[in-house]
Amino acid sequence: MISRFQYFKPHNLSDAVQYLEKEDNSYVLAGGTDLMILLRRNLINAEHIVDIKAIPELSALEYSNSTGLTIGAGVVVNRLVDSEIVKTNYPALQQAAASLASFQLRNRATAVGNICNASPGADLPPSLLVYDALVNITGPHGDRQVPVDQFFTGVKRTVLQRGELVVSLQLPEPGEGDRSIYLRQTRLRGHDLATVGVASRIKPNGKVAIGICAVAPTPLRLFALEDKINERGLNKETIDWAGEEINAHIRPISDVRSSALYRLQMASVLLKRGLLNLIGEEE
C-alpha cells in the first residue's frame, strides 16, 4: 500500500458528509473488505479515509411493519445471516448474505458496502432488487432516496455524488405468503464470486420478481421478463419457457471466471430451479 492517507472517524453523519465533500480523494471505510484490496493493489490513491463505524445510527438493523427492514450502512453481512427477521421475511436476502465471501469476511463486510462497491457480480443486489429496496443517501445537498434498480450506473459506478454517503437500505415489508430464494453458481463449493446469481421472488399477489448478477455491467432486475411470466401465469410450463426466455434479457460477457455461454446456461438453470422451488415443484 503506498497511499498515505489521513484517517478520520466521525461520530455523526454531518461531520462525515462535510469531510467527504471538502477533501479530494476521500474514501468511505465501513468493512474495508473491498477498499483495503484497492489500497493494497494501489488501484486508488486515497488521501483521506472516513471510517463511518462510529456513527451510531448506521449500525441499525431494524424491522417494523410500517417501514419494513432498515439496514444501516454499518451493518455487517453476518448480522443479516443470523437475523431471524431477515430469514423469515426476506429469505433470498438471508441466503445471499450467507453465500457471500467467507465467514471472516462476512464479519467485516457490510451490506451497504456490497452495493456501493457496485461489482457486477455482487451477491446482495439481486435480492435487494426483487424486494424493491430503496437506498437512503445523505449528502451536502440533503437527503435523497434512490430505488436500488437505479442505483448502479455501470461497472463499479453508482449514482453517488461527491460528498454523498449511503445511510441505509430500506426493504418494504413483504406481505403474507411472500416467498423468495437466491441461488448462485460458483467454480467451487468454497467461497467464490458468483458466476451467476439469481434471486427469485413470488409476491403475495402471485407476481414474480427476478434479480440477477454477473450477467451485465450492473446487477439487473428483469422487469420485462417478469411481465411476460406474469402474463402467462406461473406454472411449470411457464417456468420452462422462462428458462429459455431469460437469455434474451441478459448480456453476459466471457471473462476469466466463465464463458458467456455458461453464464447463459446457468442463468436459465438457476431461474428455473428457483421458481420451481418457490411453487413447490423442485426438480
Binding site: Q185, R187, L188, R189, S254, V256, S259
Partner: protein, 803 residues
C-alpha cells in the same frame, strides 16, 4: 469419527505418534523465513515485466534511487549472473529481452516494504513489446526462439538434451521392442490426445529469502523458505563463482513446498541486493500475486498416445509423445520431462514402446517440480487411454488393467526387472475396486434413466506409480550424538516442510536404539554448517534413503556404546544386548549399564574415564542406479517404485456441471507404515490437491500470454467445503527388501491419478470422454451441450456446435 485401525508389530515404527513439530506450530512459536528479522535488515520489492516478451529499451531508476529510505536499486545492467538447476538459462534480472510476464526487470531494497514498493512505482521502463511464443506448437515451429543462446547454455550433459536452434530445452527418449510390427499386427490401434494446464503449488508461505552478503569476503549467509539447502549452496557457489564453504544456508520452518521450493529461487536476487546495499541483510518476499506469476508452476502438458491391443485385452504396443510447456525457463522442468521417458507408460507390461518427451520453452510462467512431478500429467494421459481402450474392446476396465499390470519378472519401460519385493500394483487396484463396490460400467439405459433425475453417478479408478526422480548418485546422511542424559540428538540435511520427515526418522531411530521417541532430539531447522548433506528434499525419497541412513547411524551408535560398555562391564561387546535404553550382558542381565552411563564416556568409580562422547553417522546412497541411454532410455533410474491406485465415486449435476465426490478409496503399496497418522495426512492432503487439479485449478493466459488469474480471487484451491464425503486409505505392505523396515515413500503419490480416476468416473456417469483438465462445472456443461462423445478442449471457441 473414524477409528484408526492400523496396528504395528513394532514398538515405535508404525506407531501413530504426534508430529514432533506440532506443539510449536499450534502455539505460534514456529518461526518461518517469513518471520525472520535481523538488525539493519532491508526489504525488497521487484518490478516485473508487464509483457510476456518485450525488449527493454530504457530504464530510468533515478527517482527510485532518490527516494529516502532506498538503499539499492538494481536492473539487468548491474549483473549478468545466470542461474539454473539443470540449465543455466535464467538471468537474475532481465536484460535486453524479457521472457515472461513475471521476469524481474528491476529490484529495490529499502528500509521497509512500503518504501521499496513506492520506489518500484517510480521506476520508468520503456518497452518494445514483442510477439510472444504462446504455446508448444508455436515453440516447436521455432520461428521465434525464447532463448536465442540455447546452443551455448551450460547444462547437465548426458542427462538433458537441449536441441540446437530450437525451443526444446531437453528432448528425452526411450524405446524398446518393435513398435512398428506391434501396430501393424495387433487387432486394434487407438490414438488419443490429452492435455492439462499449468497449476500452481500454492504453499501457504510464499517464497521468502534473506541474504546477508559479507562485504569483506565471499561469504553469503542465506535464510530461506526452501526444500533444498545443499542444492542452493552448490548452485549459489557455482553461479557466483565462490566456494560452497562460502555459502551458509539456514532453513527455518517452511510453510509448504510441494516441489515449488526445490532448487533455487529468490536467493540470487537477495544476494545481489545485499551486495549493492553494502552487505545489509535483504529480505525478498513474494507476494501472493508473485507466487502465482513470478515463481514457477507445474508445467502444462500435452500427451499424444497411440496404443495397440489384441482382442483378448493384451497391450502390445504403446507410443507416447509428451510436450511440456515449461514456460520461460527450464528449472526442474527438464527433469520432469525426463521422468516421463521411464515412467510414461504407467505400471503396465508393454513389450514394444517408445516415448518422446520434450521440455519446451514458451513465454509463459516457467515450470518446476510439483508433487509427484510429471506423474499426475502422464497418468492423466495413460489412465484415460487405458479406460478408452477398455471401452473400445468391450472389456471391463478392471479386468483389462489386471491383465496388463506389471508383475514380478516383468520389465519396466527402462528395462528394470521387477521382483517380489517391488510392491504390487495388482494388490492396490484390487483393494480400491473392492472398496468402491465396482460391478462394471453403467449401461447406456441405466445412464439415460438416471439422467432424468438430473444427477448421474459414476465410478472410476486409475493406477499410479512413481519412483524418486533423482540422479543416479543421490545421497543423504545423518549424524547422531548422544547427549549426557542418554537421549540422542539427530541431525539430517533434508527439510521437514510438513511431510513429517523428522518424526518418521525419529521413530526409526527410536526403534533401532530402543529408546522412547521423546528421547530423540531432532530439529526441522537446517544449517548447512552443521547439518550433514542431503541432495534435495524432493521425490518422496527420504523415508527410503534417509531411513536407511538412520539405521546405519543407529547401528554405529550401538556398536560404539557396546565397545565402551564392554570395557566397563569387562566383557566382549559381542556378549552385549540393548533394550529400553540399557545395555546388558546376554547371559547375565544384572551386568548392565544405561545409555546415560556411556553417553559422554564411561567413568569408573575412581574417576577414570574411557570412551568419550558418542557420535555416529550414517550415509545412504541410491544403489545401482544408472543414467539412461540417451536414445533408448534403457537403464536403471528407480531406486524404489511405489505403486498405488485410486477409485472414486462421483455424482454429476448434469445441468450445472457440479461434481460431488462421494468417495475416494486410495491404496498404496508402501511396504511398511512408519506412522499411520502421518501417512493418513499425506493421503488426505494429496488426494485433495489431486482433486484441485481434477476439477478446479489451472492457469489461464490471455492472447498476450499474460496470466489472467494471479490471485486467490480467480486461482482457487479447494476449501473445507470441497473435500470428498469420504476418503478411505488402504495401506498395502509388501515389504521392500532394501527399504527401512521394508518401507517405501508415499509423500507425493496420493496426488497422482486423482484426475484420471475422476475423468474415468465422469465417463461412467456421462458417457463422455474428456481429454482435458480441469473437469470444471463449466467444462462438463459445455461438453454435455456439445453433444460430442470426446472433448479435447473445453474453451467455447473449440466447441463450435455450441454457438
Amino acid at each position: 469419527m473414524e477409528e484408526k485401525k492400523y496396528r504395528s508389530k513394532y514398538k515405535h515404527v508404525g506407531q501413530p505418534y504426534d508430529r514432533k513439530d506440532a506443539q510449536e506450530k499450534v502455539t505460534g512459536q514456529a518461526i518461518y523465513a517469513y518471520d525472520l528479522e535481523f538488525p539493519g535488515m532491508l526489504h525488497a520489492r521487484c518490478l516485473l515485466s508487464p509483457y510476456a516478451r518485450a525488449r527493454i529499451v530504457s530504464i530510468d531508476t533515478s527517482a527510485a534511487k532518490a527516494l529516502p529510505g532506498v538503499r539499492a536499486v538494481l536492473t539487468g545492467e548491474d549483473s549478468d549472473i545466470l542461474v539454473g538447476l539443470y540449465m543455466q538459462d535464467k538471468r537474475v534480472l532481465s536484460k535486453g529481452e524479457t521472457r515472461y510476464h513475471g521476469d524481474v526487470v528491476a529490484a529495490v531494497a529499502a528500509e521497509d516494504e512500503e518504501t521499496a514498493e513506492h520506489a518500484v512505482s517510480l521506476i520508468k521502463v520503456e518497452y518494445e513489446p514483442l510477439v510472444p511464443v504462446h504455446d508448444v506448437d508455436e515453440a516447436l515451429e521455432g520461428k521465434t526462439l525464447v532463448h536465442e543462446d540455447i546452443n551455448d547454455l551450460k547444462h547437465y550433459v548426458g542427462v538433458f538434451f537441449p536441441q540446437k536452434d530450437s525451443n526444446i530445452a531437453s528432448w528425452n527418449k526411450s524405446k524398446k521392442g518393435d513398435l512398428e510390427t506391434a501396430f501393424s499386427e495387433s487387432d486394434l490401434v487407438v490414438e488419443n490426445e490429452f492435455s492439462l494446464p499449468a497449476v500452481a503449488h500454492v504453499p501457504m508461505e510464499t517464497h521468502v529469502a534473506i541474504v546477508q552478503a559479507d562485504p569483506y569476503s565471499n561469504k553469503l549467509k542465506i535464510w530461506t523458505s526452501a526444500q533444498s539447502p545443499f542444492a542452493i549452496r552448490q548452485i549459489m557457489a557455482d553461479s557466483f563463482g565462490i566456494s560452497e564453504t562460502d555459502v551458509e544456508v539456514h532453513i527455518p520452518y517452511v510453510g509448504g513446498g510441494f516441489g515449488g521450493k526445490a532448487g533455487i529461487h529468490l536467493e540470487p536476487l537477495a544476494t545481489l541486493l545485499s551486495k549493492a546495499a553494502g552487505g545489509a541483510p535483504v529480505k525478498v518476499r513474494a507476494t501472493r500475486e508473485q507466487e502465482f506469476n513470478q515463481l514457477p508452476t507445474r508445467a502444462g502438458m500435452r500427451g499424444r498416445i497411440k496404443t495397440s491391443v489384441n482382442n483378448d485385452g493384451t497391450i502390445t504396443g504403446m507410443q507416447a509423445t509428451y510436450d511440456w510447456d515449461s514456460g520461460a525457463y527450464a528449472d526442474y522442468g527438464v527433469n520432469v520431462g525426463k521422468t516421463a521417458v521411464y515412467s510414461g507408460i504407467g505400471p503396465y507390461r508393454v513389450e514394444n514402446a517408445s516415448i518422446d518427451s520434450k521440455t519446451i520453452y514458451t513465454n509463459k510462467v516457467f515450470s518446476t517440480a510439483y508433487r509427484g512431478f510429471g506423474h499426475l500429467e502422464t497418468h492423466w494421459t495413460i489412465e484415460r487411454q487405458i479406460d478408452i481402450l477398455s471401452q473400445k474392446l468391450g472389456i471391463d476396465p478392471y479386468e483389462f488393467r489386471m491383465k496388463n499390470l506389471l508383475e514380478p519378472g516383468d520389465k519396466t519401460m527402462s528395462g528394470e526387472v521387477l521382483t517380489v519385493s517391488s510392491g504390487s500394483p495388482k494388490d492396490c487396484l484390487t483393494a480400491v475396486v473392492k472398496e468402491i463396490g465396482w460391478t462394471g460400467r453403467k449401461s447406456e439405459e441405466e445412464r439415460e434413466e438416471e439422467w432424468k433425475t438430473g444427477k448421474v453417478r459414476g465410478k472410476g479408478f486409475a493406477m499410479l506409480q512413481k519412483a524418486p526422480a533423482m540422479p543416479a548418485n543421490t545421497a543423504t546422511s545423518v549424524i547422531m550424538q548422544m547427549n549426557g542424559d542418554g537421549h540422542v540428538k539427530m541431525m539430517i540435511g533434508a527439510v521437514d516442510f510438513g511431510q513429517g520427515a523428522i518424526t518418521a526418522l525419529a521413530q526409526i531411530a527410536a526403534q533401532e536404539l530402543d529408546i522412547p521417541i521423546e528421547h530423540i532430539e531432532i530439529s526441522a531447522e537446517i544449517d548447512t554448517r552443521a547439518n550433514p548433506y542431503d541432495w534435495n528434499t524432493v521425490a518422496s525419497k527420504l523415508i527410503f534413503l534417509g531411513g536407511n541412513a538412520v539405521i546405519k547411524a543407529s547401528h554405529e551408535m550401538l556398536r560404539k556404546m557396546k565397545d565402551v560398555a564392554g570395557q566397563a562391564l569387562r566383557t566382549d561387546p559381542e556378549n552385549l544386548l540393548h533394550a529400553n535404553g540399557e545395555i546388558y550382558h546376554r547371559h547375565d542381565p544384572t551386568r548392565r549399564l544405561t545409555y546415560k552411563d556411556v553417553a559422554l564416556g564411561y567413568m569408573y568409580p575412581n574417576g577414570t574415564g574411557i570412551g568419550g562422547p558418542l557420535i555416529a553417522s550414517g550415509s545412504s546412497m541410491a544403489d545401482g542406479l544408472t543414467n539412461l541411454h540417451p536414445e533408448t532410455g534403457q537403464g536403471n533410474p528407480a531406486a524404489v517404485w511405489t505403486f498405488g491406485a485410486h477409485a472414486v465415486e462421483i455424482e454429476v449435476d448434469v445441468e450445472t456441471g457440479n461434481v460431488t465426490v462421494l468417495k475416494v478409496a486410495s491404496a498404496f503399496d508402501i511396504g511398511q507404515v512408519i506412522n499411520e497418522k502421518l501417512v493418513y495426512g499425506q493421503i488426505c492432503g494429496g488426494v485433495l490437491q489431486g482433486l484441485g487439479s481434477a476439477v478446479l485449478e489451472g492457469y489461464k493466459f490471455n492472447s498476450d500470454v499474460q496470466l489472467m488469474n494471479p490471485s486467490f480471487t480467480d486461482n482457487k484451491i479447494p476449501t473445507m467445503k470441497d473435500i470428498p464425503l469420504e476418503i478411505v486409505p488402504i495401506y498395502i505392505e509388501n515389504p521392500q527388501h532394501n527399504g527401512p523396515y521394508g518401507a517405501r515413500g508415499v509423500g507425493e503419490h496420493p496426488m497422482i491419478s486423482v484426475p484420471s480416476a475422476i475423468g474415468n468416473a465422469v465417463y461412467d456417469a456421462l458417457g463422455i470422454n474428456f481429454h482435458v483438465l480441469p473437469l470444471s462445472p463449466e467444462a462438463l456443461v459445455l461438453g454435455i451441450q456439445s453433444g460430442k462423445k470426446s472433448i479435447l478442449c473445453t474453451d467455447v471457441d473449440c466447441l463450435p456446435g455450441l454457438h
